[in-house]
């Protein structure tokens, strides 16, 4: 047991300035490091990241193979199934990465510690966003490589638009993640199902496996108001007609900007509401 004097003699903390871009980046980095530690601590988590997308890719890949044995439009459509699966997985996995990492802080009753530290809410959001992309890379890249070896589907055949598709889908996933995190923050872990289910709300509407024209007329404007719809339409255009309309992407990016702002405002509003209602005192309990 040390004496009183040791505190004064020991290593004093050298505190860096708490404000400015450098300070923000340091805090974001510290939080991302926490998530890296978490992933490294469990091999099961790492395997799980690849397991589900891999199974899904296999299932749809074999279906594509079966359909390709037929003739006509069905066979033609079959070529886009794996592409749809992989792009949907970018949206879904990135969203899961964002939302579940946030929930993890609540499960571990650590959110209180984070929120009283110098970490700003937007830095927490930035760290979750960065981490969702890292997690996504771990999840989707090996599966995309496996799709090439198993079924000869090369995601890179989508060319440069693939980068834009990726950006649009990830931005959408962050918007969804922000809304889910906000609701969970305000209403507690009772609302945690939202982390997994919110993205599925988009599944029938953003036309992952079929063109927008399949939807009833009244539903089509709603579908077109969702950024991912333009990605899946664009992908089908490239793979089926070998054409690409950049206008689709600009629409998607514009819509994303609106959804991201709305997502962040929702998160901020729910956080403010949680501070007013005292919900943050009961987190994780």
């Amino acid at each position: 047991m040390s004496t009183a004097g040791t505190q004064a003699r020991g290593a004093e903390p050298v505190l860096l300035a708490p404000v400015g871009l450098g300070a923000s980046l340091r805090r974001i980095g510290a939080l991302v490091r926490r998530y890296v530690y978490l992933l490294r601590s469990s091999g099961v988590r790492l395997v799980e990241l690849i397991y589900w997308p891999f199974l899904q890719m296999l299932t749809w890949g074999f279906l594509q193979k079966y359909l390709a044995g037929n003739t006509g439009p069905l066979a033609q459509a079959a070529g886009v199934l794996i592409g749809s699966v992989l792009l949907w997985d970018i949206l879904f996995r990135s969203n899961i990465g964002f939302s579940t990492t946030f929930i993890e802080e609540m499960w571990s009753r650590n959110l209180g510690n984070l929120l009283i530290s110098p970490l700003r809410p937007y830095e927490l959001v930035a760290a979750l966003s960065v981490w969702s992309v890292i997690r996504l890379s771990v999840s989707v890249v090996p599966v995309a490589v496996a799709a090439y070896f198993f079924f000869g589907f090369n995601l890179l055949d989508l060319g440069l638009p693939l980068v834009a598709f990726f950006v649009v889908l990830v931005l959408t996933s962050w918007s969804l993640g922000l809304i889910a995190a906000g609701v969970i923050l305000r209403h507690g872990l009772a609302a945690e199902e939202l982390a997994w289910s919110l993205a599925f709300l988009l599944l029938p509407l953003c036309c992952v496996y079929y063109p927008v024209s399949v939807l009833p007329g009244w539903l089509q404007p709603i579908a077109l108001a969702l950024p991912p719809t333009h990605v899946f339409e664009g992908m089908r255009s490239i793979l089926l007609r070998h054409t690409f309309d950049a206008k689709e992407l600009w629409w998607a990016l514009g819509l994303n900007a609106v959804y991201l702002v709305a997502g962040y405002l929702t998160f901020s509003r729910f956080l403010a509401s949680a501070r007013v209602n005292g919900t943050l005192l009961r987190l994780g309990e």
């Binding site: 009183a4 505190q7 290593a11 505190l15 300070a23 805090r27 926490r34």
Partner: protein, 272 residues
Amino acid sequence: MDDRVGNLGEEGGSGVVRPNAGAPAAVRDLTKVYGTITAVDRISFTLVQGTTVALLGGNGAGKTTTIAMLLGLVVPSSGEVRVFGADVSRNRSTVAHRMNFQSPYVDLPARLTVKQNLTVYAGLYGIANAADRIAFIAEDLQIVPLLDRPTGKLSAGQKTRVGLAKALLNAPDLLLLDEPTASLDPDTADWVRRKLKDYAETRGSTLLLASHNMAEVERLADRVILLDQGRIIEDETPARLIATYGRGTLEEVFLDVVRGRAKPASPALEAS
């Protein structure tokens, strides 16, 4: 502590908002209402630098809500909370690096090792010499053998020491504690109290603790703020409180207050 400016790294000279003018903490007419329940009712107090103040009161007296408002976790319904001169509701981020908090009701991530957790928090608090600081704190709080163990596998006493390590990482000028020795065995609880006393005395830091443990309060606190139904009933030194109520211990005073027994008309304090 003004000498903290000297602790700032090379980035410390510019852009740092340091409202040193204010007391470590000052609350004025602080009120928190949840629906129809008034958890904290127009309380005012100021913490003097280098003192240890205890918030005492029964369950639901408003201790935790008061601490949460000082930390910025809860927004007051009305009134003002200032920490080192900064309005916590608006500018918490400018003073957060000078504060810290420990409570057995807030955990560190269980899957991370102790060292990983401390490294993450050193990053969040902007500690440039993180490795040295963690090594020092670990030795001081006797957690060196725990550094590579997952935090979730520690005993309650070990977790308390690790929580304290996290709370002392940035050598806070204002340390808030919510029942710091709850669920600890007497030996470990005594050790934690000694450590807190050492810390406050050697650094001149200000401590605000909420506790149900009267012996702990008598030993640590220079001043006791007694809360009942969200209101401040007494704000005195432990010795004067005991004298005022004509009791032998703080626990007896506490029981008088929570059971609604009035204090004697002619306080023993007058005679002393």
